[in-house]
């Protein structure tokens, strides 16, 4: 083989080597991109599943909240004052759990939850004071507040139920 031909084949081999390297590099990049994409998809699926579970828990908590509020109205009407403070506490805990579990909820919904927690604390104090003073709390006034809160919380619950 003469020198010119040797140089030619050496150049061809060199170019082919570069081409193979470039192709290998591209294949590697695609592989990495695909694996990252798959990992991200898995992460997104996990996040969606987690959010779904949280929403389900929120709906369950809301349902429990409305049940306790209806029970509180009945207990007011029955003047069962001695058992009411425990129900107010249970209700506040559930409302607090909903608030803590939904940090991304709209401000209006968070304000409704905060306002409801505060209302039932004031209500609990009013009933405790009436018990201590041996006076009868205003049943109509108390149930009016419970009903107003119940209506607004039901509106929020329906927005959770309507979520796709």
């Amino acid at each position: 083989m003469d020198g010119g031909r040797l140089i030619f084949w050496a150049a061809v081999a060199s170019i082919a080597g570069v081409a193979v390297s470039v192709i290998g590099f591209v294949v590697t990049i695609i592989g990495v991109w695909r694996s990252r994409s798959a990992a991200e998809q898995a992460k997104a699926a996990a996040r969606e599943a987690r959010e779904g579970i949280l929403e389900l828990e929120t709906i369950q908590d809301f349902t429990a909240v409305t049940t306790i509020m209806e029970e509180i109205k009945r207990l007011h009407r029955a003047s069962a004052w001695a058992v009411l403070p425990d129900r107010y506490t249970a209700l506040r805990k559930l409302l607090g759990a909903i608030l803590a579990g939904n940090p991304d909820a709209p401000d209006g919904q968070k304000a409704l939850l905060v306002g409801s927690i505060n209302q039932f604390r004031v209500m609990e104090n009013a009933v405790e004071r009436a018990l201590a003073d041996r006076t009868a709390p205003d049943v109509v006034g108390l149930n009016k507040i419970v009903s107003q809160k119940l209506d607004k919380l039901n509106e929020v619950l329906s927005t959770f139920r309507l979520k796709p």
Partner: protein, 131 residues
Amino acid sequence: MADPKFLTLIHKLLERSKRGKVQWEATAAEGVYQAAFPQYSVKIYSLPGDMGELDYILQLADDEGQVIDEIRDTDFPNEFNNMRDLFNCARSIGLGLDRALDSILAALGPDEPAPAEPSEPPEITDGDVPF
């Protein structure tokens, strides 16, 4: 000494309340009104003071309803009028007074023009008498 930020809070609450931007509501305690925000709430009420006039108290509560701090109008002597106005505004919104007045005024309808007074009959002259 009360936090001077309370002063800003009073002014902002009063200004927003006058524009109907703060949703005050009545509570189970008579004469106590609250407004809730995403993480905190405020309550306002009045108590008879030592000098015979009312003292106004503004409380700040956390998201569990625990009172964090409170101020009285006496903490900021120049703010008595603003605290009183804020209380009256909160009461008006909390009891739905504004809504009630608007509703009744709307039901009464717009002012109608007063009926025109009957014009005086024309004077009778000799030409008007047939005989």
